[in-house]
Amino acid sequence: MTSAVVSQPAATTVAVRAEEVTKIYGVGEAAVRALNNITVEFAAGHYTAIMGPSGSGKSTLLHCLAGLDRVTAGRILLGDIEITACSEKELTVVRRDKIGFVFQSYNLIPTLTAIENITLPLALAGKKPDKQWLDRVIRTVGLADRLKHRPSELSGGQQQRVAVARALASRPEVIFADEPTGNLDSKASAEILEFMRQAVTDLGQTIVMVTHDSIAAGYSDRVVFLADGRIVDELENPTSETVIDRVKDIGE
């Protein structure tokens, strides 16, 4: 299957784009092509999922898009900023101001309370949070009564909600989520996915999520399928059933 440029039908802005990105680990005989000449766009205000089997390169793609990893060839653009041309210092600022993260686990600083964790990127930037926006975010994820608690006093689902709130608090251009429901039970998973959906639908955020869970993928607007470092398929307006079917098709 070729990895052709796939663009959105409607004229929406592109939040983040990868152009002919290749990522190779190792040298010589042991070299591994994690990403093989990928070009893909992610629309602003949309919820996109990246799926694929283990070793497909989905996590690598996410890390490169977020500026956490360096590409071997190609360009990555976040809005107008060319991530691949940024220095480490510039990347730090980008991570602080323009990107939000939700990891699979261990998202929070254990010595800080929930509210301190949520405002952490802003504190690092020395900025004061927008009170209205912050209240809205906290209400959206339903944490108003847990703000003074430490992570050790919160359940797994609540911790992830704090992480989502933190990702939203600085009003980033893109939120990158790496298997955000990986460690949660089905109820907590559903809650998180619902909040992320709301963030996109009601608050206009852009989310790029890596997942192996078809139910999670069902919450997104679009699923991009990776295999062996290449984009092999796409699916608009997915449901968990259509995702499972498409995965089966790819496997054959």
Partner: protein, 856 residues
């Protein structure tokens, strides 16, 4: 199991590297000290063997008095009559006998400065030139001859080289007689060396030496050579049979050599012990580092250890594994430390030289004792420190491998508080017993050690609230980086306090010694102000109480003759036995003493001391011993017992800076062989300004190059300068302990950063810059350092107060805690924290963000 241990060690070299460094430094200091003291010991052993090489028998007076003042113990002995020499030579088996005199003689170089400084380094001697070759260790260089007559002298090659003297030059020599010029008729080497371990020598013929010392028809001792075939023991017995055994002692050559050697060893004992104490302090600080490292390492490896247990290893095997690590690390560190110590010994020697303690040390002696001590102590210290963490490791339940088990004990347990306070109380008790109860200095040291351990146990209880307070400014001023630093310091109080403990010890000792020195200086100043009414003091300028050296009484009499001088008195301090106990006394001129000393006479007249066999006593002695004017005081001097009569009682005794007993100079001269004055106090005549006084006195002093003129301020400053010099040396010694403590802080930080890799990666991922991260770690280090500094100062203040209180009777009348210097200590403590954080912070900032957040 062994393979697991060894592989584990190799895999984490850096982890143990810093621990090993801490042990290594302590062992290096210890072995360096041992090597240095062994070397010095050997040097002196060889020296005395050379001096006494030809002596088969040695005769001296049986009358002697031991006197000492912390420093060299010198037996002051009576002299023997010269008439003994022919008597001894007549003894069958004696080939030749010769009398010796040994006295103070200091050369003045061509620029008018004295050669050598007997208070700071090797003594400056005058000797009789031995005509019996076997008895004379000095060998003339070609071109010279032995001294004959009262104006000829032979000097040692060392002094000749350093002062540029040649045969034929004139040289002024200071003795207890008036300074006089002599012609150098020969230059002599001491055996093969230029001098006897740096001591200068001026050799005169016998009559001249006797004239200089006032020892008419007397000698200090008589050396005897045996005829071939006669053993030393035989000769000694035969001589002893001929002499009055109550008046004279006879020793073999071997015996006198041994006695000289052990005398000097005793004299140096204080210095040896002091150095070793510093080495032990460094090692003690090291134990905290080791304890901390092993605690952290065990905590980090909990899962791995639990896995081993789950796979069937017993608790004892796990304990053995951790202890084996300790043994290997300790052994390696000790071996390296030993090597470093041998190299360090010459650095130590240079350090002592720089601070004015010039002790000869030729060659380097590495004894078996040094090697064994280094290895045993180094390894032992490591093992002992690792025991508690090792036991913790052995108690890990196997289930911990499957899930995270909270094993952190509560830092606030009531048990901890109870045990901690008990230990501190025990330490304080021991300390007080040693200080106030007279139970000895070892108990003081032990008490201090126990107090440190007690505070260490209590540490976790106070660490959290204290870190909160100390870190408050950081959180306020530095925003999130400061707040994170403070939170990190607070979140593991056990670790924080263990890290801070090492620095605490160093700071406590620095604080203590600062307070002690400041109090000493204040007390001395108070004493000087209290006791001395004089305008000027003439001293040799340096040396605590001048145990060796001074100037001729001629100086005092020259000064007294000046019209600008209203009154002057020389002063000699020495020791004698009064009423059975060894006490200090002051020798003064009875006619002028009250003009220059503020004695606060209460009864009788100081002038009456001019009467023979008189003594003046202080009020406290009079009260203690129920004495009045006219009472008898039995006194024992080097040349015999003499009863003295009390002629005056005065208020200012030892405590006030004067002396509990006072004698006239005439009395002192009659009983002691050394006739040197240590001070001359001068009161100007009325109407004479200080400037005019100086202008009159300075020309007189030109003839006495080792004498300095000081007014009361300069005198106080000179005393303070000596204390400062010693203080400087002690600071440098403690510096090592402080450096080890800093290594400990850096070590702990580095290990805890490794532990917090994911957390730090997360911070970087959400936008913390490298600089902010470094700053946060630096602040954390500063908070920990300040915690240790604060605790250390509290302890140091307590120790300082306790010791000064205990020494009240010894003249420590003032307690001084110099605020400025102590604040400086706090600032340095904080800065030390910055220093310790450099390496860990850079490492943390270099974290690959991606690796960090994806780490399992």
């Amino acid at each position: 199991m062994r393979r697991v241990t060894i592989k584990g060690l190799l895999a984490h070299k850096l982890r143990f590297g810093l621990t090993a460094l801490a042990v290594m430094l302590g062992v290096a200091f210890m072995s360096g000290t041992l090597v240095l003291t062994d070397t010095i010991s050997r040097t002196f052993d060889n020296l005395f063997a050379d001096v006494n090489r030809g002596t088969d028998a040695y005769v001296r007076s049986a009358q002697s008095l031991s006197s000492g003042f912390g420093g060299p113990v010198r037996r002051q002995r009576a002299r023997v009559p010269a008439s003994l020499v022919p008597e001894i030579e007549a003894v069958p088996g004696a080939a030749a006998a010769e009398g010796n005199l040994q006295f103070y003689a200091q050369l003045v170089d061509k620029k008018g400065k004295t050669v050598g400084n007997p208070q700071r380094g090797a003594p400056t001697f005058g000797f009789t030139w031995g005509t019996v070759k076997a008895l004379n260790p000095y060998r003339l260089e070609p071109g010279g001859h032995a001294p004959v007559g009262s104006d000829q002298v032979v000097i040692d090659a060392g002094s000749a080289k350093s002062a540029g003297f040649k045969v034929g030059d004139q040289v002024t020599i200071l003795t207890q007689g008036p300074p006089a010029k002599y012609q150098i008729v020969g230059i002599a080497k001491f055996g093969d060396a230029d001098s006897a371990a740096g001591a200068s020598a001026a050799l005169f013929d016998t009559p001249t030496a006797q004239a200089i010392t006032g020892a008419t028809n007397q000698f200090d001792s008589i050396s005897v050579v045996a005829q071939p075939g006669v053993s030393q023991g035989t000769l000694k017995n035969r001589i002893a049979a001929q002499l009055d055994n109550k008046a004279y002692q006879v020793l073999t050559g071997a015996q006198i050599t041994k006695e000289n050697q052990s005398d000097i060893k005793n004299a140096l004992q204080f210095f040896n012990v002091a150095l070793l104490v510093f080495a032990l302090i460094a090692l003690f600080v090291g134990t905290f580092i080791i304890f901390n490292t092993f605690s952290i390492v065990v905590a980090q490896r909990l899962r791995e250890l639990a896995l081993l247990r789950a796979l069937g290893a017993s608790g004892r095997q796990v304990l053995g594994s951790v202890l084996t690590e300790a043994v290997l690390v300790g052994l390696l560190a000790s071996v390296v430390g030993l090597g470093a110590g041998i190299a360090l010994s010459s650095v130590l020697k240079a350090l002592l030289d720089a601070f004015g303690l010039d002790i000869p040390a030729g060659g380097t002696v590495v004894g078996a004792r040094t090697v064994i001590v280094a290895l045993v102590v180094g390894t032992g210290v490591t093992i002992i420190s690792a025991i508690v963490p090792a036991r913790k490791a052995s108690r890990v339940p196997p289930i911990a491998a499957m899930r995270d088990v909270a094993t952190e004990g509560r830092p606030h347990s009531g048990r901890r508080v109870l045990i901690g306070f008990s230990i501190v109380a025990l330490g304080v008790l021991s300390l007080f017993a040693g200080l106030f109860g007279g139970a000895g200095i070892q108990l003081v040291g032990l008490g201090a050690l126990i107090v440190f351990i007690g505070v260490f146990v209590l540490g976790p209880v106070v660490a959290r609230p204290l870190s909160d307070v100390i870190g408050w400014p950081a959180a306020r001023l530095r925003g999130i980086t400061g707040a994170l630093a403070r939170d990190n310091a607070m979140r593991n109080p056990k670790r924080t306090s263990a890290t801070a403990a090492a620095l605490m010890i160093g700071v406590a000792l620095v604080g203590f010694i600062t307070i002690f020195a400041a109090s000493a200086k204040e007390s001395i100043n108070a004493q000087v102000d209290e006791s001395f009414k004089a305008d000027f003091v003439i001293t040799t300028g340096s040396g605590f109480g001048a145990a060796f050296g001074g100037f001729s009484p001629q100086l005092a009499s020259d000064i007294a003759k000046l019209p600008q001088v209203g009154g002057s008195s020389p002063l000699r301090f020495n020791q004698a036995e009064f009423g059975g106990s060894s006490e200090f006394f002051a020798g003064v001129d009875p006619r002028s003493a009250t003009k220059v000393f503020n004695m606060k006479v209460e009864d009788g007249n100081v002038g009456d001391l001019a009467q023979p066999n008189s003594v003046g006593i202080s009020r406290s002695v009079a009260n203690d011993k129920h004495l009045r004017i006219g009472s008898r005081v039995p006194a024992q001097f080097p040349n015999g017992a003499t009863p003295l009569t009390v002629r005056t009682i005065y208020g200012n005794g030892n405590k006030q800076g004067f002396a509990d007993y006072t004698l006239s100079i005439a009395t002192v001269s009659a009983h002691y062989t050394s006739q040197l004055d240590q001070y001359v106090f001068v009161k100007l005549a009325s109407g004479v300004s200080p400037l005019e006084g100086r202008q009159a006195i300075d020309p007189v002093l030109k003839a006495y190059p080792n004498a300095k003129l000081q007014d009361s301020t300069e005198f106080k400053d000179a005393q303070a300068a000596q204390i400062n010099q010693l203080l400087g040396l002690i600071y440098v010694m403690l510096l090592l302990a402080v450096i080890i403590a800093l290594i400990g802080i850096a070590n702990t930080l580095a290990l805890s950063i490794y532990e917090r890799t994911r957390e730090l990666g997360l911070l970087r991922a959400v936008g913390m810059s490298r600089r902010q991260l470094r700053s946060s770690i630096r602040w954390e280090s500063v908070i920990i350092s300040l915690l240790g500094t604060f605790l250390g100062l509290v302890i140091g203040l307590f120790f300082g107060w306790a010791v000064v209180e205990a020494l009240k009777d010894q003249g420590f009348t003032k307690f001084a805690a110099p605020g400025g210097q102590l604040i400086l200590v706090v600032i340095v403590g904080g800065f030390a924290g910055v220093l310790a954080a450099i390496f860990p912070a850079r490492r943390a900032a270099k974290l690959d963000v991606l690796r960090a957040v994806t780490i399992e």
